[in-house]
């Protein structure tokens, strides 16, 4: 068993690059999904029935479809429609679009439970549009939604592992590669599991910090 871990250690550069890819993939799609979510949420709550209807359809649709299937469709299915993407672009696109729906729903829920008075006060004091959004609306919204967004980011990290099936060289793919070449399945995958665990603990620590900031301001 020690010998097995020795082999894994000798392949650490592959594992670390896999971890790096997982991290980059997760961060990029998390940020993009959050930004997209910010654009979708107002549409979701729009008074224009047709707009809110379409976006609601998209959000509910994404929540009813398994991510793996969605990733397959983006990578294997889109070429039938003439759009051929490489596995990195497909993976990033799939992760982003899929989680944008979840982020939109999270932001909508957080917005619904925000008190209105502080914002009205902001308007009364002359804040408008961008500065109103950036200085008055956004901070309490993010503080309130912090834990839920954190959970969603963890979900993104885990979803990224599905992309091993489209041969994206992320962490699980690296572990599988080590296992298939050296026949050290336990050592390889357990190491991957603990790396995922570490990544999630880091994210949870970030969430705890935000939560502490939020609690001090409650």
């Amino acid at each position: 068993m020690i010998h097995d871990f020795g082999i894994v250690w000798s392949e650490r550069s592959l594992l670390l690059s896999g971890l790096g890819n997982t991290t980059i993939l997760s961060i990029l799609s998390a940020v993009a999904a959050l930004l997209l979510g910010f654009m979708l949420t107002p549409a979701l709550m729009s008074k224009q029935a047709w707009l809110s209807w379409i976006v609601r359809g998209f959000v509910d649709g994404m929540r009813c479809v398994p991510f793996l299937l969605f990733a397959y469709i983006v990578y294997y299915g889109l070429p039938s429609l003439g759009l051929r993407l490489d596995n990195w672009t497909s993976g990033l696109l799939a992760l982003t679009i899929y989680n944008a729906a979840y982020m939109a729903e999270i932001l909508r829920g957080a917005w619904a439970s925000q008190p209105r008075e502080p914002i009205e006060a902001g308007v009364a004091f002359g804040f408008s549009n961008l500065s109103l959004f950036r200085r008055i609306v956004l901070p309490p919204l993010l503080l309130a939604a912090g834990p839920v967004i954190g959970n969603q980011i963890i979900q993104i990290v885990k979803d990224s592992a599905f992309l091993t099936i489209i041969a994206l060289p992320e962490l699980t793919h690296a572990a599988a590669s080590i296992q298939s070449r050296h026949y050290v399945p336990f050592a390889a995958f357990i190491t991957a599991v603990f790396l995922y665990w570490g990544l999630c603990l880091v994210i949870e620590a970030g969430v705890t910090t935000i939560d502490r900031l939020a609690a001090a301001r409650r």
Binding site: Y72, I73, V157, A161, T172, F189, A192, F194
Partner: protein
Amino acid sequence: MSAGDLLAILQGAVVTVTLSLAGILIGLPIGLALAVLRWADVPIVARIVAVYVSVLRATPLVTLLLLLFFALPNIGIAIGPISAAILALVMNTAAFNCEVWRASLMNFPKDQYEAAQSVGMNAALRFRRIVLPQIVRVSLPGLVNEMSLLIKVTPVLAVVGVVDITRAAVRIGAQTYDPLPPFLVAIALYAPIVFLLVSLQRWIERRQLRMAAA
């Protein structure tokens, strides 16, 4: 896509539903047992459960599945794709269920428990007659949510060769060089099941809100 292809995907649906049910039905009581172990603060065991839940909630199902499928035979435990699939699903869902059960246990009103103690109910009676009926009610939305999440990760079982909806669709796509139609059929099968569970969860939450307000 022919009728035979459609049939193949439907057969895959049977596998998906069966494995999901197995995972859900086995995972529910195990999740409860884990939660009770933490709630009762059994020495040593409670810490082990806490670590187990933390790790399992951070582990992607595909990684867990590959670990079980390849590593167990390596240490002498022969395991086929179906067993590995069910084991992975159960280990995963039990960890998430544990947190749902635990939340309702932690929020259980202390004085009801003390009232049960004061009339001389022992621990087993207190749990069975007073605690359990109520935490089932409170945990229901969270547990149903977890069920819908479980169904959404079952496609990963295709990775170890289980022929569920996704693998059937992939196979047909590879054979016909036209992957989109079988994928769309697959969506048409997954989406209603998940939608049903999500709607069930919303209905339960609404009903509980109404009953609390009454």
